[in-house]
Amino acid sequence: MEENKKKLYTLLVYSENVAGILNQVTAVFTRRQVNIESLNVSASSIPGVHKYTITAWSDEDQIIKIAHQIEKKIDVVKANYFTDDQLFIRESGLYKLSAPMVMENPEISRTIRRFQASIIEVNPTYIIVQMHGVTEDIISLYRALDTFGCVLQYTRSGRIAVTRGMQEQVSEFLEEREQHG
């Protein structure tokens, strides 16, 4: 695959909450040697249904095939792929900073405020900062803080996303299935 045709796609997958589904979903990527960039799994708004938000670099041809192969799994309800402009996207970052260094250098606090990040824990040894945003914001804050040499730990969540469309298609689909099933 030509690298320049690749885009970061987000797959939203809904499945029944049964053991082993994650394995089945990731196996579709493994078989094609496609790396998963980020993965978030949690209960969805529909009882008994789990939602997977997966990002991966791919071209459109391949991501369509991946989505179809995932949706083909018996206990997967729906698998759809999106580009960033079709979604509201958020990630979280947690930054553990050295408290003495933050106290010494007021520029660090200013940076935190500039990024609209919030401080959620303070104690004599460290300060925990959290930030929500898109990937670039979270990474930018890390880079900015890192220049002060004050970062003890840093972690970034997987992406979560909701579509810009009105309906959660999955609940409609399930309602229709239950009615006609």
Binding site: A19, G20, E71, I74, R177
Partner: protein, 569 residues
């Protein structure tokens, strides 16, 4: 009210009975003993509901289940123990997955209390089987049995069929429950029969109505959907010539005037070339395997592509479609046919004849009616095809035997072919043929094997002996792994690396198993030997000493364009 308390093993028996299972291919072992104990009562006396066929290796249980399923149209069942018992079935499961064959493999598992402890004969079956099965599930408690078994059969047989694996923990086999039957015929996340899109049907019909050179490619989907009659009506109304994939060979009778032969690397010459000339290509229940398309970059680029398939993930997977009709072809074919104009494409059909003639002259005649030289595979197949009843089931192993057999056999009856098309599993033939004899005891089963594949599941001669399974085994012995040898000669500078094979004395082997045996090497003995084989009650091994280095032709070399087909090397 008196409760009906039974063990999980007995619940399995009742659940299998409720699914209409008649035949089970299996092999007992430690973790499945409670089930085998329950089975004892269900296979004899007044309570008898099942025939249990004791195979000699678990791989064979799955291939036999596949042969059974392919011929009967019902779900084949294999029953094995945990650990090595079930890892031995993985080849069969993968085979059934690629060839869309409905089987249910039920395996013992260590008790759930021992899971994850590396207990004796413990293997993570669900984890291992998931990527190669349609559904895998662990039955952890006896109360799950009725639901899991019914769901397994429902999933295996509906939509695009496939293998399902049930991992039956030993504690669940012995636990007692109050029996309550259950029937699963709905899974909300699984849509086995997509709703027919009428717009797509209209678009397909319009393309076909305007086509000057339409060509249909018929796959196994037609047999799986029992749509043979619907196919014929469709083809006849619009006068469309049709090629069949290897697995779809008996979806359209060989002698139907619109049949233009087999597709693929070693298929028929005309249809391979015409795929590059047609203006509308209608693929029906087939998946554009690389063995059919050759180089995808050049494949049928001039044609509008219509793809009828029940599995949406097949659409645009290999070949980009112009119109996709995602539905059971039993439904989509008549819907399209209703909108078709009666048509006549005689000029187009006649244009196949010249190429057919060329193939006949250069390849077919020399293969099936050679004048001199050693005996050839093609003529052996032809002799069996000529003498065997019209509803004979062809079973093949994999390799040259498969290619010659599928090319030169005749198909008059639906569900007449068992062959490992997708996975290309050597050793498939003999056990699949056993399964076929149980699916259709009234039909003749002819199984063509090479000396390589014959030895790969040779232990099943024991099953054949014990069951007196009337498999007519045609062992085409060229003392080579012939297909690999052919490729070595064609593409690897004739360096025959480990393809020459020393063979045992098959007569002694047949004798050991008490199976009727005859050997021939001279063509003048062929017809009479085939006649004796077909007239013999029960199993028969006909060993044919054939030309050592014979090549299957025509051939589209791998990765080449489909019309780069060679009639000679």
């Amino acid at each position: 009210m008196l409760k009906d308390r039974i063990t999980g093993s007995k619940a399995l028996m009742r659940a299998l009975q409720a699914e209409g299972v008649k035949t089970i291919f299996g092999y007992p072992g430690g973790s499945i003993m409670p089930v085998y104990d329950a089975l004892f009562d269900y296979t004899r006396g007044e309570k008898k509901c099942f025939d249990h066929i004791l195979v000699r290796h678990e791989q064979a249980a799955t291939h036999a289940a596949e042969g059974y399923a392919r011929v009967s149209g019902e779900v084949g069942v294999a029953l094995v123990t945990s650990g090595p018992g079930v890892t031995n079935t993985l080849t069969g499961i993968a085979d059934a997955m690629l060839d869309s064959t409905p089987i249910v493999v039920i395996a013992g598992q260590v008790p759930i209390s021992a899971l994850g402890t590396d207990a004796f004969q413990e293997v993570d079956l669900v984890g291992v089987a998931q990527p190669i099965s349609k559904w895998s599930y662990q039955i952890r408690h006896a109360e799950d049995v009725a639901w899991a078994v019914s769901r397994a059969f429902y999933i295996a047989r509906t939509g695009r069929p496939g293998p399902v694996v049930l991992d039956f923990a030993k504690n669940a086999q012995v636990e007692e429950i109050d029996w309550e039957p259950m029937k699963v015929n709905f899974v909300r996340s699984y849509v086995p029969y997509p709703k027919l899109d009428e717009k797509a049907v209209r678009e397909a019909a319009e393309l076909i109505n305007n086509a000057k050179k339409p060509l249909a490619l018929v796959g196994q989907g037609v047999e799986l959907g029992n749509a043979q009659a619907e196919l014929v009506k469709f083809l006849e109304k619009a006068d469309i010539p049709a090629g069949r994939t290897m697995l779809g060979l008996s979806a359209l009778p060989s002698n139907h005037p619109l049949n233009v032969g087999m597709l693929g690397m070693h298929g028929n010459y005309a249809v391979n070339l015409k795929e590059q000339e047609c203006d509308v290509l209608i693929a029906i229940g087939m998946r554009f395997s690389d063995r059919v398309t050759g180089n995808l970059k050049t494949y049928a680029k001039q044609a509008k592509i219509i793809h009828l398939d029940i599995d949406r993930s097949e659409i645009d997977k290999n070949v980009k479609t112009d119109v996709a009709v995602v539905a059971d072809c039993k439904e989509s074919l008549p819907a399209i046919t209703a909108l078709l104009k009666e048509n006549n494409h005689q000029g187009w059909r006649d244009s196949f004849r010249e190429l057919d003639k060329k193939e006949r002259q250069k390849v077919i005649e020399p293969a099936i009616h050679p004048k001199d030289g050693p005996l050839l595979m093609g003529e052996v197949v032809n002799a069996v095809a000529e003498q065997s009843p019209d509803d004979t089931i062809l079973v093949t192993d994999v390799g040259q035997n498969q290619l010659f057999a599928t090319r030169y056999f005749k198909y008059h009856h639906q569900r007449s072919i068992c062959t490992s098309g997708g996975l290309g599993t050597m050793g498939y033939g003999m056990p699949a043929a056993i399964g076929a004899t149980f699916a259709a005891p009234e039909r003749t089963v002819c199984c063509f094997m090479g000396d390589g594949g014959f030895q790969m599941c040779i232990e099943e001669l024991g099953t054949i002996m014990e069951q007196k399974a009337p498999v007519k085994m045609i062992l085409m012995n060229n003392h080579y792994l012939g297909n690999v040898r052919q490729w070595q000669d064609m593409f690897w500078m004739r360096r025959k690396s480990f393809t020459k094979m020393m063979n045992p004395d098959y007569e002694q082997i047949a004798k050991g198993y008490g199976i009727a045996y005859e050997a021939i090497s001279d063509r003048k003995d062929l017809a009479a030997a085939v006649e004796r084989m077909l007239k013999t009650d029960g199993p028969f091994i006909l060993e044919c000493q054939i030309k050592e280095e014979d090549d299957v032709l025509p051939m589209t070399p791998p990765g080449m364009n489909v019309d780069d087909m060679k009639l000679e090397i």
